[in-house]
């Protein structure tokens, strides 16, 4: 799973959000390291919807602009959980090896 996809699903794990909300949330989650742009975001959202991982929750028009809120589907939550477990396992191995070698790479 690409990092942007992982972060989008993570953003939606907290509840439904609209596009701009996801962008700001992803920036926050990644500590400013990942800044999603509209083109990348909506290409990813379109693919995630197609794969049945997210769906449209509701829409509203605010200041004459359309806001569409997306939410995580059970399949999306499961994929995110699997990916998080995989990353966690890799991170655990890396940390334990760093502990053994005293944190020094030679």
């Amino acid at each position: 799973m690409q990092e942007a996809t992982f972060l989008i699903l993570t953003a939606l794990a907290a509840g439904s959000q609209h596009g701009y909300g996801i962008i700001t949330d992803v920036t926050g989650i990644s500590d400013g390291r990942v800044r999603l742009r509209a083109g990348t975001l909506y290409t990813a959202l379109d693919r995630l919807r197609e794969d049945g991982l997210i769906e449209v929750d509701h829409e509203e028009v605010v200041d004459s602009r359309l806001r569409r809120y997306y939410r995580l589907m059970p399949a999306g939550a499961e994929r995110l959980s699997e990916e998080a477990a995989r990353l966690q396992a890799n991170a655990d191995v890396a940390m334990s090896r760093l502990d053994v070698s005293g944190g020094l790479a030679t």
């Binding site: 701009y20 083109g39 990348t40 379109d46 829409e59 004459s64 602009r65 359309l66």
Partner: protein, 243 residues
């Protein structure tokens, strides 16, 4: 012209690079995000935003379509249908001599003129129609693969015609005179029937609805532009309601 209007026009020009179906679904909300992300006083999109939009638009146009399994199987069967049309043509051509003998066996006074009339009425239409039907099947497979709703309707019509021609063949005692032609015809009809069931399957619906702007998007688009007006559509377990 204000800065915001100019910026919005520039963004719309960039969004025009996306496929029409994608634009219909996402253009307004993308525009909302782009305008919200833009700094005050900006008149033109930034280079990074423009590059991101164009790069993703090209990707959206080039990426392979991924229809659901039901549609994938339907497309394969449409191609098989095209092959069977050509098989039916080959069978008709190969059994033409045998057909005349079979008719003569049952009707000893069957004249050459009657045979020519039979060829013009039944065999010639198959010889001309089968290659056309095969081409139509392949074209419909392509159009259904692209998610065109009219292609689904057209295939249903095509299946209706196939059913009628099979019934006509039974009515003309094809089972007696041309059993092999009838067997191929029945195979073709069965392939058509399974294809129809697959494209009408609820799991195929999303593939076709991607090209169709849904009700809420149409109504929200109408609402966009109405200043101070707030419209909310909420999805609750598949049912849609306006609050």
């Amino acid at each position: 012209m204000t800065d915001a209007t100019n910026l919005e026009r520039c963004y719309r020009r960039l969004l025009a690079w996306y496929p029409r179906a994608f634009r219909r679904e996402h253009e307004e909300e993308m525009l909302a995000v782009l305008m919200a992300s833009a700094r005050d006083g900006r008149r033109r999109p930034g280079l990074a935003d423009s590059a991101d939009l164009i790069r993703n638009a090209i990707w959206m146009r080039l990426r392979p379509q991924r229809p659901p399994p039901t549609v994938c199987w339907a497309l394969r069967l449409m191609v098989l249908g095209a092959v069977l049309e050509l098989v039916s043509l080959a069978t008709v051509l190969a059994t033409q001599g045998g057909l005349r003998s079979a008719i003569v066996r049952h009707f000893p006074h069957f004249t050459m003129a009657q045979w020519h009339a039979e060829v013009h009425a039944h065999i010639l239409p198959v010889e001309v129609g089968a290659p056309i039907a095969a081409t139509l099947c392949l074209w419909l497979a392509w159009a259904n693969g692209r998610g065109h709703g009219w292609a689904r309707g057209l295939f249903l019509g095509f299946f209706g015609l196939t059913s009628l021609s099979l019934l006509a063949a039974f009515g003309q005692h094809a089972a007696t005179y041309a059993p092999s032609d009838l067997i191929v015809g029945c195979g073709l009809w069965l392939v058509g029937l399974v294809t129809v069931l697959l494209i009408l399957n609820p799991r195929s619906e999303q593939h076709y609805s991607r090209r169709r702007p849904d009700r809420r998007t149409r109504e929200n688009r109408t609402a966009v532009g109405g200043l101070g007006h707030e419209h909310v559509w909420r999805s609750d377990g598949g049912s849609a309601s306006w609050n």
